[in-house]
Symmetry: C2
DNA sequence: TTATTTATGATAGTAATACTATTATTTAAA
DNA sequence: TTTAAATAATAGTATTACTATCATAAATAA
């Protein structure tokens, strides 16, 4: 994790881990706009000042947990496609990974991956859609996202070395896996998926989009 | 315009038109997070209470100006594709329309379309990425966006009546025309476009994506 | 063991934001 | 010309987003 995101490393103490855990819970439940350090402190049983010793402001905390997700997806991608040779199968794995509402991984006690995935759907783009995106970018806040798009882009190029837009297609897959899910659940007429809350339709759409795009 | 978005119709008075004009200016210049009714009032030369007589809160004002854009795009789409028969040419027009940083249309004195386009790029998704999206949707706030995606979806179906995801592809075009532009300018390594600020690359990418997707 | 650093808790306080309310004054419609 | 409506001016409240201070508890070093 990028140390510029925090003041004190939340992984290194119980209070820190509680801040992460309860932030994910609260942002998941009420959205980022309604999320305040005061509510967070109350939920943990500490004080506002206690939270401020870990994070400068709520935006950096949001970027922290979203970075955590980017890194976790990168790990899952490496892990799940490790012994797969066919890049098409790899790409399908990634589409499914990004589109599917994952199970909570119990090995990461203070992070609920299922809730994090929901946060990415509703709040993910707020990490960068700010007027200080340039400053944040200079501090490398988005490096894990860039690494992820590079990795996906490499697999796209393995499928078709002549394809001209591997990075744009990678970011399109990432963003659309989340946005089409949001639309499906809240503005279904912007999609062709009934409010079945079934992600398999989104996967089919993205596979159709991607594999038609990259075929020679 | 949906009357639930405002308290008093801003089109019906000079003050109202000033609220729209200066809102677009301020949100364009400093972003939506930094935008407050106090700053807006100061910029106009009225008082905070004056603004609150027109809009309940800054979110509804944002949705108002974004709705204005959706409606304007719909109008431009109808106008520009009116006497075109070939649906492929129509679709290209739409992609170009959504991707291009338009000129300010001087016939709409209080709305600067060029600035509005920039606002859509940076703030567009904040219209619906809220925890009250369901409530807003019940009040039909997103009807112009749905109408637009339907219209684009119809043209997609004209190109290929068997294509299975016309609405999802329409919302993908709309969102990606904006998001790839944002990435190009602020996080270029998420794209394959150099920071040339040249939208023609985005148009080529989207045309490639769309026409490969819908070809039979 | 004691001394000392370090993290946390408790409390207070400030500036800005997001509003609501009241009254006076100007403008426009009946 | 009366009356209603819109606006300006001012004040005030609750919440948010912080900063600062001091006491205490826990961990660590001498």
């Amino acid at each position: 994790m990028n140390p510029s995101l925090y003041i004190r490393d939340p992984e290194q103490s119980e209070l820190g881990k509680n801040i992460i855990k309860h932030s994910i819970q609260l942002i998941h439940d009420n959205g980022f706009e309604a999320f305040t350090f005061k509510k967070l402190a109350e939920s943990i049983g500490t004080t506002e000042a206690g939270v401020y010793r870990y994070f400068e402001n709520k935006h950096k905390l949001l970027v922290y947990i979203i970075s955590w997700y980017w890194g976790w997806i990168q790990f899952q991608l490496n892990y799940q496609t490790n012994n797969i040779k066919d890049p098409i199968v790899k790409l399908k794995k990634i589409i499914t990974l990004l589109s599917t509402n994952v199970e909570d991984d119990i090995t990461t006690g203070h992070v609920d991956e299922a809730q994090l995935h929901q946060i990415l759907i509703s709040e993910g783009s707020k990490a960068y859609l700010t007027n200080h995106v340039g400053k944040d970018n200079k501090q490398q806040f988005f490096q894990p996202y860039k690494d992820l798009c590079n990795a996906i882009g490499d697999i796209i190029l393995e499928c078709n070395p002549k394809y001209k837009y591997p990075h744009s297609l990678a970011s399109t897959i990432f963003e659309m896996a989340h946005l089409q899910n949001f639309f499906m659940n809240h503005l279904p007429s912007l999609t062709d998926f009934s409010k079945s809350k079934n992600e398999s339709d989104i996967i089919k759409y993205l596979e159709d989009l991607v594999f038609k795009s990259i075929r020679e």
